[in-house]
Symmetry: C2
């Protein structure tokens, strides 16, 4: 999950001076500094690049801006011909600021801190591109996929190609691991989930592996429930990020036997703090930490989270030892 953000006073202070959100993501000096803020404070084992999944549609020529209190606003794709207008050529140049951020981070991060690059998965990114922003039910994007799967496939394929290229570029700039966020995977019936989420993730995984065999990838198919097991078996990633609702013993028996798992503290338990946070954290560690595991939240940290709760969490995770 994003480590930097509004819960940190130093982030709010810096952001007050750095203009709009997208420009902030695309200004290497600032994006690198924001990436470093939580590392300085908490010394996490890994740093995740500060950026946004909508950097890619922006680089494809779509208008993208972030409005305070409303979230992202995109010039929505409304017909198949709009897909052909996306600017695939010259993509590398337009993504250059992100690569530059990654390069700076490889220099500035402590040697023991793994640098994680990321991108949005094709369906999640496509949903913003078609809905023109966040959505309650994804009716427009999903109806497009149901009514005109041929052109929808063209959009997904374009995003598979460019996302793989984007992730390879991040590795070549210095990213040591990658994460693919499919935040809205959990809205599809199984056949559509396979076509629009699982197959694209597998193709992206394979493309990046062909270029850089040693860089691990974590996929986050949020909300796919029972089909986490299918993702573990079929998507080819080294790790899966578990959302908060995935039962731990099931994940241990059905998912962690196949891939490393990451997760899945409820961000609202972290917001609440105290006994609930401690008990939930202990439960996760005791069930999953003895096998390949990355402690993380099950979804993004909330802006109103007290940073001291994160401190307590880090201390508890670091102090955990496998029962003798």
């Amino acid at each position: 999950m994003r480590q930097a953000g509004r819960y940190l006073p130093e982030y709010r202070e810096l952001r007050a001076r750095t203009g709009d959100f997208l420009t902030t993501c695309l200004t290497p000096e600032v994006a690198a500094e924001i990436t470093l803020q939580p590392i300085r404070r908490f010394a996490f084992d890994a740093a995740i690049l500060f950026s946004d999944i909508l950097v890619l549609p922006h680089a494809l020529g779509q208008s993208v801006r972030f409005e305070e209190g409303r979230g992202p606003v995109l010039g929505a794709l409304t017909r198949a011909a709009d897909i052909d207008d996306l600017a695939v050529r010259g993509l590398v140049d337009r993504l250059a600021p992100v690569y530059e951020t990654v390069r700076r981070l490889r220099t500035d991060l402590p040697a023991q801190t793994t640098l994680v690059g990321f991108a949005g998965a094709p369906w999640t990114v496509a949903s913003y591109m078609i809905e023109g922003g966040s959505s309650k039910d994804f009716a427009t994007a999903k109806a497009w996929a149901y009514q005109d799967p041929v052109s929808f496939q063209r959009l997904i394929d374009l995003l598979v190609d460019t996302t793989a290229e984007y992730l390879i570029g991040q590795v070549e700039a210095g990213a040591e691991a990658l994460q693919l966020f499919d935040s809205w995977a959990g809205v599809w019936p199984e056949p559509a989930l396979r076509r629009w989420c699982l197959d694209p993730a597998r193709t992206i995984r394979a493309r990046v592996r062909a270029a850089h065999p040693d860089v691990p990838m974590i996929v986050f198919p949020r909300g796919v429930g029972v089909l986490y097991e299918t993702f573990a078996e079929e998507c080819g990633a080294e790790g899966l990020s578990l959302d908060t609702t995935v039962p731990l013993s099931w994940a241990r028996d059905r998912v962690q036997t196949k891939v490393a798992v990451q997760g899945n503290l409820d961000p609202i338990a972290l917001l609440a703090g105290g006994d609930a946070q401690r008990a939930e954290t202990a439960r996760i560690l005791d069930t999953l930490a003895a096998k390949p595991f990355i402690f993380n939240l099950g979804h993004g940290i909330l802006p109103q989270t007290p940073p001291e709760h994160v401190r307590t969490l880090v201390d508890q995770v670091r102090a955990w030892r496998a029962p003798a």
Copy 2:
């Protein structure tokens, strides 16, 4: 799922003359007429009472109103003492209009049409009572549960008691089956899900059974993924309503072997119509219809759904035959 609603021109026409949404729900003549509208048009096997889950908090003395384009707005509970101010005494009188609607429907519905009563499950209703309306992340309600489980349990217990009483009242007025909607069950880690969703559903199921042993109940723990199997084993309901994301073969093997299942056409496949709707419908029927099964949507119908798509759906479901 709700059968009446804005997708029907006769509903929009009637609602234009009947004042605010809550008053409409609590005016027996109008609520009964709205319940009958989709039955006249489509002759479904069962009719679900037209009402709203927030009728209960309203009857408990909380302020509830529905704003066009914003949804429900409640005078939010903000501290434990607010729970003690809820007006449990005299509840039956304040719910009398709903019972009167049910009585009218038993007279007005065709004899072969099963009348289904319903209520919101305690967690889902509590979330509205604390958040003061819909919520993106349920941060306030969930943080309350994490930080002060004692008072949160008191609210859940109060809702268990009153919901059981409310459902028993619906049966005594003529409801022939019941559904319990836990629309927001899918936001909790397992232990909290068991405490705030599964245990309350089991208690409500048992209370209603003690009063009326022959009335079946369907529980809809939307979004619980892997834990649908646990609900099937432990909540005591005769049926479970499957959301759109539940894989069909898994549901057949793990859930339908224990209880009847209901679901789970993607409402956006129904909105899209055409080949996608037909293929998705066939897939559901072919996988689930040979065992105890109720065809339904996996979530509520969208207002922009063409009624002709529902017609096509009903015809396809009625024409289905088990492979010889």
